[in-house]
């Protein structure tokens, strides 16, 4: 029997795992959204900073029609103050996760290529867009200084 398209479980007092597998269509994603909302009080009764791991590693196809429900589910998690990491080992699925996080306007959600990087995100406090911007800015300044130094070295010869 093939895996159900989603499973929802509590990993510990402050963590939920949503596992997506096989083919996720619009109907299944709506069921997932409803299940998340209905079960949330029992899954996370007291957590003030819940962590949600969305495991996409067994997901093969996510139909375009499924996106709207995923976005609504992500907005729900954002309202609950949850931090979300989507772990996916396929670029296209990481793109989907980024799309969902962006459209849900949830700065606490992020795609990750490995379980370790997903866990690191869940443990961190940075906001996704601000974090990317700050990293890029810092690295740009450092690299530009290095390029200038190399150029000065050449010019002085």
């Amino acid at each position: 029997m093939s895996e159900p398209p989603y499973t929802l479980s509590r990993s510990d007092e402050a963590a939920v795992t949503i596992k997506l597998a096989g083919r996720l269509d619009e109907a299944a994603s709506r069921r997932l959204e409803r299940a998340l909302v209905v079960q949330w009080p029992d899954l996370m009764p007291r957590a003030d900073r819940p962590r949600v791991l969305v495991d996409m590693r067994a997901l093969e196809v996510c139909e375009a029609g499924a996106r709207a429900a995923l976005i609504r589910a992500q907005r729900f998690l954002c309202r609950k103050g949850a931090r979300t990491a989507y772990v996916a080992s396929q670029p296209r699925l990481r793109g989907l996760a980024l799309y969902v996080a962006h459209m849900a306007e949830d700065p606490g959600a992020k795609p990750a290529p490995t379980l370790a990087s997903a866990q690191a995100w869940l443990d961190a406090t940075a906001e996704r867009l601000a974090d990317a911007e700050q990293r890029a800015e810092a690295l740009l300044q450092a690299c530009e200084r290095n390029v200038d130094a190399v150029g000065a070295g050449w010019r002085s010869r």
């Binding site: 396929q90 670029p91 793109g95 990087s117 990317a132 690295l139 690299c143």
Partner: protein, 233 residues
């Protein structure tokens, strides 16, 4: 880069709408392409923020070109976006890389839009193996950079190299860019994406490149047919 983001309303104002259209026309004229996610950038950052972002991205590209040369710089930008699942930025930079390499070296890079599409549906491990298969040995330096870039992204890189700050810059810059471009990048038709470089304006080069690419695709298809025919005997 830009100040802290302000939450803006989803709808653009009339001035911003007009700004989007003007900016697109101006970009076509100066760069040879316009960004289909211009409206999203302006929605999130305003018109002044958009200008700042474009300037900053140009600085980043300039740093990477100075370090790696234009063809490899664009290949790295393209693959940074590929690993994030943004087809638009990925195809745009890989197309630019391919055109520049064709212009400067007379070489056809083995990874075109078709191959990018196929790679996007593979796991990272399988995609990496396929990239290695395609690029060895003729494009060894590019392969080495792409391999290191991915290792840095995955957190599996060992030791340090002098290229690491630049590769990390590439990854971080594209992470940030894809925050905006993913609205069009997830479903982009890779063949409809313009090269993301001024080389997009060189129509004569693009015609020569397309002719060479078509000839190469026919050659590969004929090779595969011949192998299939031999295998069937």
């Amino acid at each position: 880069m830009i100040p802290a983001l302000l939450r803006r309303s989803f709808a653009l104002s009339r001035v911003e709408h007009a700004g989007v259209q003007l900016i697109k026309v101006a970009m076509w004229a100066s760069e040879g392409y316009a960004l289909p996610f211009t409206a999203e950038l302006i929605r999130m950052h305003g018109l002044a923020g958009f200008v700042d972002i474009v300037r900053t991205y140009k600085r980043i590209v300039a740093v990477l070109v100075a370090r790696f040369g234009a063809p490899d710089a664009h290949a790295l930008l393209g693959f940074a976006a590929h690993w994030n699942g943004c087809g638009y930025i990925s195809a745009g930079h890989v197309f630019a890389s391919n055109l520049l390499r064709f212009r400067d070296e007379g070489a056809l890079f083995p990874i075109d839009q078709d191959e990018l599409e196929r790679l996007s549906h593979r796991s990272d491990e399988d995609a990496q193996a396929r990239v290695r298969e395609l690029l060895e040995p003729a494009f060894g330096r590019t392969l080495s950079l792409l391999t290191r870039q991915l290792a840095l992204k995955l957190g599996t890189a060992e030791g340090e190299t002098e290229d690491d700050p630049y590769l990390n810059l590439c990854n971080a810059a594209v992470d940030w860019t894809n925050e905006h471009s993913i609205v069009v990048g997830l479903d982009a038709d890779l063949h409809a994406v313009s090269p993301l470089d001024e080389v997009a304006k060189d129509d004569a080069l693009r015609h020569r490149y397309e002719a060479a690419r078509q000839a190469e695709r026919k050659r590969i298809a004929a090779e595969r047919a011949a192998k299939a025919g031999t295998a069937g005997r």
